[in-house]
Amino acid sequence: MTHVVIGVGNAYRRDDGVGLAVAARLGARVPAGVEVVGCELEPSRLLDAWQGADAALVVDAARSGAEPGTLHRFDAGAGPVPASVFRSSSTHAFGVGEAVELARALGTLPGRLVLYGIEGGEFVAGEGLTAAVEAAVEPAARAVLEELEQLRREQEEPCTSER
C-alpha cells in the first residue's frame, strides 16, 4: 500500500506556491512509507507522480473567490473536479483538474485521490506567500496528516474502507 502526497505550484507566483509550501512543511512528519513530492508547474507530470500509488493526496492553490486561506477538500473519486475551485493559476496549458480528468478517461486514477485546495489571494509574479495563505499552511499540513492517518486505519480494517 503506497501513499503519496504531491504539492503543486509555482513558488515565483506568490500564493500559487502554497502547495509546495505545504509539502515542504510536511517533510519528515508523514508516516514512514509515505512519499512527499513537489510538482512545480507543468501538472501533466502528476500522472507520473501518482502512478503506482494506492492513494494520492494533491495539494494546490485554489482560486474560487473564497477568502484567502480557505481550505477546500475534494475527493476526486466522487466525480468531476470542480473547475471553479481547482483552476490553478500556475498550471498552464494543463491544470490539476485536467490531469485528474485525463487520468480518469484513461482509467489510471489512483484508488483514492483527494485534492486539497488552499484559496490564494495573489498570483502575480513574486516570491513569498501572503499572510492569510501563510497562516493556512500549517492547518493544511495537519489536515493532510489526519487524512493519511485515516487512510492507514482503513488499510488496517479493509472492510470498512470506502472508495
Binding site: N10, D48, A93, E101
Partner: protein
C-alpha cells in the same frame, strides 16, 4: 451599414501561458489583430540583479516549467563565453542529452495534449483520450521518457538542479545512463508512430513568408549551442544579437516584441530549425520526415506538428547516440574564476531561440540581465499570420473563425508561462 465584428479570446486555452487574442473586423476587412501576452521574464531580470552568477541557471530555470533546461543552458553559455570557458566534450554532450530530454518532454506535451486535438476536432486531450486512449497513452509515455532523461541527468524532473556554470554538480556514470537505453528505444518507436499519425492529419495549405532564424552548428542539428543564422543570410554569434535584433515594448503585452533591425518580422522554432538544418538530422529522422512528405523549407505553421514529431524522433535517436558515446568526465565541472564583463548565450529551446545576456562585476555578481524568450521573438510573426488567416477565412462564422485563430496561435506553441484555461469569446458586429 458598416458591419463590425470583434472576436476576442480572453484566455487562450492549450497554450503554455496566459494570453488573450482580439481580432477586429470592419465591413468584412481585418482592421486589427492583437495577441496579448502576460509574461514574467522582466520580473526575473529584476530578480537576478545583485545575485551571484552561480544562481543564474537555477533562477532562470523557474521562468518556465516546460523548458527549464533551455533557460539553464542559455545562462551557462552566456557566463562561460564571458570567461572564455569551453567545457570538455563529455560535459557538453551531457548537456545535449539533458536538452534532448527536454525536447522530448515538451514536444510530446504539445503534439499530443495541446495541438493534436485541434486537428481531430476535440476540445482537448481529455476528450481525445476518451475516443483514442492509445494515442494519448503513447504521448504520455513519450513525455515520461523525456522526464526520465531529465531526472537522471538533471537531478530531478522539473527544474533540474544539477546544472551549473562550468558543467554539472554531479556527472552520472556510464552504467546509470544505460538505464535510459530501453525506454528511449521504445520512445523512438513511439516517436516514429507519432510522425505517421500527425502526417495523416488534414492541413489547410498555409505559408508564412518571414525570415527564418535558427542556431546552426557544423555537423549537428543545433540544440545547445551554435551561431544564429537565417535563410536570408544572417550568420552571427550570440554576442552580436543586440546589434541585429531589437525589442520594442507594446502597450497591450507585458512581453517585448522582437524584430530584426531593418528587416522586421522573423520566425524561430521548429519550422526554422527544420528549414535551415534538416540535412543534419539523423538518417532515421530524415527518412521519417521524407515519409511524412515534409520538405525543406517548411513554411506551413500547421505542419509544425509534423516537424515537432520529426524532432521527437531525432531527440530520441540523438539521446541514444549520446548515451552510447558517453564517457564520464574526469571532473563534473571546470573551475570558474569570475571577472567583470558582459556575457551572451543562446540555445534552441523547444519553441526556438532563447537569448540571455548578463553583465557582472569582478566578483561575478549580476549587475543586469536580459532574457529574450522565443515567444517574444515569434509574437510579430504570430500576429502577421493571424491577420492573414482572418483575411482569408473571413467568410467563416465567429465560432469557426475563433477556433481557426486559436489553432493558428497554437501552431507556434507559444510558451507564455503560467496560465489558465478559460475561454471567453465576445463577438461584436456593427
Amino acid at each position: 451599414m458598416a458591419e463590425r465584428r470583434v472576436i476576442t479570446t480572453d484566455y487562450l486555452a492549450r497554450v503554455e501561458g496566459e494570453g488573450a487574442m482580439t481580432v477586429r473586423l470592419e465591413n468584412g476587412r481585418v482592421e486589427h489583430v492583437e495577441l496579448r501576452i502576460f509574461e514574467p521574464p522582466r520580473f526575473f531580470e529584476a530578480l537576478l540583479r545583485g545575485r551571484s552568477y552561480a544562481e543564474a541557471p537555477d533562477i532562470t530555470a523557474r521562468i518556465c516549467g516546460i523548458c527549464p533546461v533551455a533557460y539553464q543552458t542559455s545562462a551557462v553559455n552566456a557566463l562561460e563565453s564571458l570567461w572564455g570557458i569551453d567545457v570538455p566534450e563529455p560535459i557538453r554532450l551531457l548537456r545535449r542529452l539533458l536538452y534532448c530530454g527536454e525536447w522530448i518532454e515538451s514536444h510530446a506535451l504539445h503534439v499530443y495534449m495541446l495541438h493534436a486535438p485541434d486537428f481531430l476536432g476535440y476540445d482537448g486531450a481529455i476528450e481525445l483520450a476518451r475516443d483514442a486512449p492509445e494515442a494519448v497513452e503513447r504521448g504520455l509515455a513519450l513525455k515520461k521518457t523525456g522526464n526520465l532523461v531529465m531526472s537522471l541527468v538533471g537531478g530531478r524532473e522539473i527544474h533540474p538542479i544539477n546544472v551549473r556554470v562550468g558543467g554539472f554538480y554531479r556527472a552520472p556514470g556510464r552504467r546509470e545512463l544505460r538505464a535510459l537505453v530501453e525506454p528511449l528505444e521504445r520512445a523512438r518507436e513511439a516517436a516514429l508512430e507519432t510522425v505517421r499519425w500527425t502526417a495523416g492529419f488534414d492541413f489547410p495549405e498555409r505559408s508564412v513568408e518571414c525570415e527564418l532564424v535558427a542556431l546552426s552548428q557544423p555537423g549537428e542539428y543545433a540544440i545547445e549551442r551554435g551561431r544564429i543564422r537565417s535563410d536570408a543570410g544572417l550568420d552571427i554569434s550570440a554576442g552580436e544579437y543586440d546589434e541585429h535584433f531589437e525589442e520594442e515594448h507594446v502597450e497591450r503585452s507585458t512581453a517585448l516584441h522582437s524584430r530584426l533591425r531593418e528587416r522586421g518580422t522573423y520566425l524561430c522554432g521548429p519550422l526554422a530549425r527544420f528549414s535551415l538544418n534538416h540535412d543534419l538530422l539523423s538518417p532515421l529522422a530524415r527518412s521519417a520526415a521524407a515519409e511524412a512528405g515534409l520538405e525543406a523549407p517548411c513554411r506551413d505553421p500547421f505542419r509544425s506538428i509534423v516537424v515537432r514529431s520529426v524532432e521527437l524522433v531525432y531527440a530520441c535517436d540523438e539521446a541514444l547516440r549520446l548515451i552510447d558515446a558517453y564517457e564520464e568526465p574526469e571532473l563534473p565541472a571546470v573551475a570558474i574564476e569570475p571577472a567583470a564583463g558582459t556575457g551572451f548565450g543562446v540555445s534552441e529551446a523547444p519553441r526556438g531561440l532563447l537569448y540571455h545576456r548578463y553583465r557582472v562585476d569582478g566578483e561575478g555578481t549580476i549587475l543586469d540581465a536580459k532574457i529574450v524568450p522565443p515567444t517574444s521573438q515569434n509574437q510579430r510573426a504570430i500576429e502577421d499570420d493571424l491577420l492573414d488567416v482572418v483575411a482569408r477565412y473571413v467568410h467563416l462564422g465567429d465560432d469557426e473563425l475563433r477556433g481557426l485563430c486559436e489553432q493558428t496561435i497554437r501552431n507556434y506553441d507559444p510558451c507564455i508561462s503560467c496560465a489558465t484555461h478559460f475561454l471567453k469569446l465576445e463577438v461584436e458586429r456593427r
